[in-house]
Amino acid sequence: MQTICNTIRTKIVVAVGIGMLFLSCEGHLEDLYDNPNAVTNIDDSALFTKAVRSLFQGTADNGSSHFAGMHAHYYVAGSTWRAPDQYGDGHDQDYNSILNDGYSGSIRHIEEVLELTSTSSTPNNVRNALAHIIAVLGYAKVTDAFGDVPYTEGGKGKSQDILLPKYDTQESIYKDMIIRLTNSIAILKTADPAMAYPNSDPIYNNDLGKWVRFANSVRLRLAMRLRYADNDLSQSTVAQCLSDPLMESPEHDAFMIETEGTGNAWYTRRTGFPSIKMSTFLIDQLQSTNDPRLSVFVSQDANGEYSGIVNGLTDQAFGNSNFANLSDMGLALSSPESKLYVMTAAETWLLRAEAALAYDNDPAQANILYRKGIEISLKQWEVDDTEIIGFMASPTATLSGVNDEEQIGIQMWLALTPNYFEGWSHIRRTGYPVIPLRTSENLSAGATNGIMPSRFNYSSFELGSNSSNVQEAISRQGANKIDTPVWWDKN
């Protein structure tokens, strides 16, 4: 009997003990639920700065530095980094990282800003309008790189839980991007700066006037990109752009200086391995025209000369090229504190020159705009005034009336430096400068029969993880190959 009582008493003690444990534990679990390493609420300005910064960092990303810069014949990288210059397509992992980088940087964060500024308890249409501009730049780059990409459903893994986004045609993407920019410009023209990002705008320090010029210039770039694909829309959009303020001088340029770690990414490319050497194609162009930007874009080699590397050499020819001793990238582009550009006034002037020729059939006006573009580009790179005057007097700085489109195209290619990705898109669209077909035995014809690649492939990971949507895009757009042109590429 005693034993049983003991047992019962002990059981009660245990039961009460366990009960107390339960109550204290339940509270304890709640305390541990929240992640102590991050916050659950934040002002969207912190995400806006992240998105903007990613956009600038993206101008030196894998797609730009490892592919576009070499496709557009600005330079050649050494060692195994050179493979894309041989027009090969065995770059599945790179294609995947380029697609991922395109979405995970500026798009991921700007989509969150769009969500927070439109649906949260405190909607803000000014911030929303600014975010749309950044979003357009983010999506424009991925569609220019791949062609059809997810757009209406893209980048919405968090905001709308879309894990298998549908692909949109490049045509529909471009049309919508132009509408978004138009809306943003309309809002920003009359907006109160206090409603924008007074303390977190890394580009214009909350100067909405400059933002309008920026957005409108981006709209002009997109409009001109449609020139051969949808001429009507291109022309009407250009007209609209000309009725709003555009970027006119370097103070309107959209640039950023990255100082983290070793600073500007091109600094690492110049000083690190595999190193980059500037192309014969670029040096010949600058040298033959006495272009003062030669010393800006290209460094002298050890002999005090400008010596370039030929693009597309076979392995054997490359081995004999004395690569290690050729000219590096210019210090103005590749010092730790060098600027990274997303859009410049020089590009804007040259777009206007092309538009004047194409849509107004006004060579005189085109020449004025063309010269302005060159002058502003020289100013952007802080070329001496005397040198500017000298170069502006040279035949290069005046449209000849014979090959005006090519002249504008070449100057645009130079002015886009170091935004090499845009340089590649520009050549794909206009065909200028003319990239020679690779027929020599010394040159690799790659997977494209010696023609400059037109796009990046959808990666096998994307083909596996978003299969039916990407297959639909391929059936619409053409084979998943690097020589399949994107929609706006008609040349």
């Binding site: 639920y33 390493n37 697609l99 070793t262 391995f273 004999n320 690569f323 001793n325 096998s460 994307e462």
Partner: protein
């Protein structure tokens, strides 16, 4: 059941016939006359009893002539002796070898009779882990236990090991069994590098000191482990360490091991062609050195025939084969491992204690890779009253490992560099030319994924220090002979301090700027248990009921600082770096649980166990954070039930087990957060969102498993056979599913998918000879298991579980888990390669090329004892399974591999058909172009998939027990000297010159990839055990 076999014996003579008297006596081991301490002496049918003291003496008052005394002691046959008219009863107890095997340590450290268990369990004794000693104790289990698969990574001293028990059940989980040391669940995460480099910082299992181990129980399957909750989902390895026992002499024991470690296997390299490309030397640069970029820094130059040429340093030299063919033998050295353990122990009727100190030192085959580790272990228990006892343990392990080697694609991977170095280069030149006048590294290749191996040895390194505390306090209260309460609180606490550095001047290290890193980590697992047990017997039924509660708290805190751009060379403090960064991270998780256990047995032949458990985890959303599971185990001794007692079938048991186990996940996967970026670029707040999307409605994942098996003993148990079939289905798996990058995210945590894991295990033991002077034990174990992916998330075709270069190991619905995918050659419908006009094959589709899972694996053990000599050996075998060797790929296209000699002069005509004509290809291509195009440009993996089948002589130990006669007049009680060897050689290795275990990490799918691993090693040495 041997335990119940009663051997009655009567000693002494009748003296008187008093009614009540005092009985005293001594209990000794039969044959040796060693006094046995702590033997339970009980008056049968009463609670009256005592235990023997240090000298084996006991005394009991008020005993009647009709009483029966019961003497019981684990490991010995129980004796019952009728008192009759004796007053002195001396007892000689028989060692019951069979019984030792049968008492096993099970979940919650409950000692059970093996016969009563409904699930499969294997027990390994201390000799099996501390004679042929391994730094990481799990390596000693390799090949010894069916269902247990151990892969020892090739990552330098103190590397981690891949441990799988009955294969893989979860996609994202680490699939490692729970390791419990004396009831303390310890951290058990895998380690290692990635394909792009890094080091292996080892796993916590290497902190289990083999010399302190008493026994290891391997509890397979969830049925065995439900008592540990979800942690035991992949089975449990229970390690019981030595607690003090009374020994002969003064109770001091000494165990010393020394072994050499040397290179066992290296890749076959050619020694006929040196640096250059297309059969020519490299062009000479303006600086007088050859072009050191690819492809000229490869070994596709002219044949080495004593020509004069400009060598890699720009000096005129003779171009001739290397006099030392194997650069590995020249670069690496013979390492060693030394360990000494001194233990003091004793026990009395009030308690026991053991104090042990172990010192371990070692050096790997890389000369600067050293280990120094000390273990202090204190274990003690005492009886405060007859019914109340406390037990405790404190272990402190301090270790310092220097220069864990860089692996895989890491620039400091010395093996990668040695294997790719052009064959004309002399290692002496490399050693003597590491730095130029400007302080820059001198290399034979510009590529920044390479260092000069000697430069790396001197200028890049790391120090990994760890202080590890383990301890518990437990109390046991026998309220009466039916009701018992135990409470236990244990902690596993690790402080680690890791620094790594790279000097300035090497392109591979921050473009010459130099780097420094310092990581501080603290982690703890705190477990508290309370368990009440009530046991009773009602007629033929024995019933045990337990109620328990557990609280588990995990905490981890990391602080990291790193910097680059050194201000002053060769000075490694964060202040010395122009750019410095830091981060900190804290994770906490708690689980509290309640459980009930029931044990029922009927007449000693039918046993039934059941477990119910409820877990509540902070890692799951509050609405779903509570989950239940249960297990049922049954065991039937049919020979006893049917009264079979034949000499042919001696024992027979059928068992079955079912378990349903829930599982939670890592903390903080159910909440959307913003991280604050550390940046100096912008004067604004910058925040970012992680690429992994959380899930707000995560549910626990569920694993249902069952097993059936039989244990049969023939010819008086000279032949025993255990056989088990198991199947586990894990559903609602919690995993971070990789998602299309176009979502702007890389993965999302969801519940999805099902994996089915099933297999058979068998263990056969034979004792062909068993006599006083000669005995021979043979053991075979066999496991055939298979994990299949039944479903993944809808719309998801594949989850990549890891990748190297362009090969990946994947989970795809309908396929075996761990299928290796890679690019194949382009082929026609008949499987023939399609060859271009240039004679080169083309890239085809990405297909399944292999699978990491063996068809079966097993081990063969033999133990021969002749007088005082014992020879034990272990051979392990794996049949089937594949892996991808990027190391071989590298060596092939760099032209250093012996296989790259094929077609050097004549060219290679690929087997296949011409893409245009359809005729058999007859256009030759150069060997260099073929290797480079296939492997590098076209990323074709087919030829780099190797067969992992191998048979390895894993362990040989010859032990000589010094005869007692020799020790008679010394203070030494016993001594044994062993010569041991581990991983001695491959009896068969399908891949030839690569070790299939040479992985660079130890995760579940780590065996899929090999990349220029350190040479495999073997060890051989001596072990000495002395008891004073």
């Amino acid at each position: 059941m041997n335990k119940l076999i009663l051997i009655l014996a009567v000693f002494g003579t009748i003296i008187t016939a008093e009614a009540q008297k005092t009985i005293s006596g001594r209990v000794l081991e039969k044959d040796t006359n060693t006094p046995l301490i702590g033997v339970s002496v009980l008056v049968k049918g009463t609670k009256k009893g005592t235990t023997t003291d240090f000298d084996g003496n006991y005394s009991l008052a008020n005993i009647g002539d009709n009483d029966i005394l019961e003497f019981s002691y684990i490991g010995y046959s129980t004796k019952e002796i009728a008192v009759t008219n004796q007053t002195t009863i001396n007892v000689y107890m028989d060692i019951n070898a069979e019984q030792i095997d049968e008492v096993v340590v099970t979940a919650l450290n409950i000692q059970r009779d093996k016969e009563s268990l409904g699930y499969s369990i294997s027990q390994v004794s201390s000799e099996e882990v501390n004679v042929a000693r391994e730094n990481n104790i799990v390596n000693s289990l390799s090949g010894k236990v069916s269902g247990l698969q151990i892969t020892q990574s090739n990552t330098g001293v103190d590397g981690s090991s891949r441990v799988l028990l009955r294969g893989i059940t979860t996609i994202n989980g680490n699939n490692r069994p729970l390791v419990v040391v004396d009831g303390i669940p310890i951290s058990n995460s895998s380690g290692g590098a990635s394909g792009s480099g890094g080091i292996d910082r080892g796993d916590a299992l290497s902190d289990i000191n083999p010399d302190d181990v008493e026994s290891i129980s391997v509890l397979k399957g969830a049925g065995a482990a439900a008592a540990y909750g979800s942690l035991g989902m992949n089975g449990v390895i229970l390690v019981t360490t030595k607690s003090g026992i009374k020994k002969d002499g003064v109770g001091i024991s000494f165990n010393s091991s020394f072994s050499f470690i040397d290179i066992a296997l290296t890749p076959d390299l050619q020694n006929e062609y040196g640096a250059g490309a297309f059969g020519d030397f490299a062009p000479i640069n303006a600086n007088g050195r050859p072009v050191l970029d690819y492809p000229f820094s490869w070994s596709w130059g002219p044949k080495m025939e004593g020509q004069t040429y400009t060598n890699w340093l720009g000096r005129q030299d003779t171009y001739s084969p290397n006099p030392i063919k194997d650069p590995y033998q020249e670069f690496y050295q013979t390492g060693f491992a030394l360990s000494n353990t001194l233990a003091f122990e004793g026990a009395g009727d009030k308690g026991s204690f053991r104090l042990a100190i172990t010192d371990e030192d070692g050096q790997g085959i890389v000369s600067n890779n050293t280990l120094s580790k000390q273990t202090f272990n204190l274990r003690g228990s005492t009886k405060l009253t007859d019914g109340f006892s406390v037990d405790g343990k404190m272990t402190y392990i301090t270790s310092k490992i220097k220069n864990r080697p860089q692996l895989a694609e890491g620039s400091g991977n010395t093996s990668l560099q040695l294997s790719l170095m052009p064959r004309d280069i002399r290692l002496d030149d490399v050693r003597n030319n590491t730095v130029n006048a400007n302080g820059e590294e001198i290399k034979w290749n510009l590529d920044n994924t390479f260092n000069n191996p000697y430069w790396a040895l001197e200028n890049a390194g790391n120090v990994d220090k760890k202080d590890h505390f383990q301890g518990f306090i437990s109390a046991n209260w026998d309220i009466d002979n039916k009701f018992n309460i135990t409470a236990k609180s244990s902690i596993d606490y690790i402080i680690s301090d890791f620094t790594s550095y790279g000097a300035t001047g090497a392109q591979a290290i921050e473009n010459g700027l130099g780097s420094y890193r310092h990581d501080d980590n603290k982690s703890s697992i705190w477990n508290s248990d309370i368990l009440g047990t009530y046991s009773t017997s009602i007629s033929d039924f024995n019933i045990g009921l337990s109620l328990g509660a557990n609280y588990r708290n995990e905490y981890s805190s990391d602080k990291n600082i790193w910097g680059n751009d050194a201000k002053v060379p060769n000075f490694y403090r964060i202040d010395n770096y122009k750019n410095s960064f830091s981060s900190e991270n804290i994770t906490k998780k708690a689980i509290y649980s309640y459980y009930a256990l029931g044990q029922f047995s009927y007449k000693g032949y039918l046993y039934f166990d059941a477990t119910v458990r409820n877990d509540n985890s902070s890692a799951l959303p509050q609405a779903n954070n509570s989950y239940w599971y249960h297990s049922e185990n049954m065991s039937l001794l049919f020979t006893k039930l049917l009264g079979i007692n034949s000499s042919i079938l001696s024992t027979g048991k059928l068992r079955g087990s079912f378990a349903k186990v829930g599982n939670d996940t890592n903390p903080y996967r159910t909440q959307a957060v913003y991280n604050i970026d550390q940046t100096v670029t912008l004067p604004y707040t910058v925040a970012s969102i992680s690429g992994s999307l959380p899930s707000f409605d995560l549910r626990p994942e569920t694993s249902e498993s069952w097993e059936i098996g039989a244990d049969l003993g023939f010819l008086k148990n000279r032949i025993t056979l255990d056989f088990t079939y198991y199947r586990t289905n894990t559903t609602d798996q919690i995993m971070a599913v990789p998602i299309s990058g176009t979502t702007a995210y890389s993965s999302k945590v969801i519940n999805a998918g099902e994996i089915e894991n099933k297999g058979i295990e068998a263990q056969l033991n034979l004792i062909p000879f068993d006599s006083e002077n000669f005995s021979w034990d043979l053991g075979f174990n066999f496991t055939k298991g298979n994990s299949k992916v039944i479903t993944l998330n809808e719309g998801l075709e594949s989850i990549s579980l890891g990748s190297l270069w362009t090969a990946s190991v994947e989970a795809r619905p309908g396929q075996e888990f761990g299928t290796i995918y890679g690019n194949d050659f382009l082929r026609d419908n008949f499987g023939r390669k399609i060859i271009g006009d240039d004679g080169l094959a083309k890239r085809g589709d990405r297909i399944a090329l292999g699978n990491i899972n063996p068809d079966w694996y097993g081990g063969f053990t033999s133990k021969i004892r002749f007088k005082n000599f014992t020879l034990s050996s272990l051979i392990s075998a794996q049949v089937g399974g594949e892996y991808y060797s990027y190391g071989r790929g590298y060596r092939l296209f760099f032209g250093t591999d012996a296989r790259s000699l094929v077609g050097r002069e004549s060219g290679i005509i690929e087997e296949g058909i011409n893409e245009h004509t359809g005729f058999v290809n007859d256009s030759p291509t150069s060997a260099m172009l073929k290797q480079f195009t296939d492997i590098f440009s076209n990323e074709i993996a087919t030829d780099l998939i190797l067969d992992a089948t191998n048979v390895k002589l894993r362990e040989v130990a010859l032990t000589f027990d010094l005869p007692r006669k020799m020790l008679k007049n010394t203070f030494i009680q016993s001594a044994a000297l062993s010569a041991v060897g581990r991983n001695l050689l491959f009896l068969y290795n399908a891949a030839g010159d690569i070790d299939p275990e040479a992985t660079y990490s130890s995760g579940p799918t780590s065996t899929a990839f090999e990349h220029s691993s350190l040479p495999s090693t073997r060890s051989y040495g001596m072990n000495l055990k002395i008891n004073f």
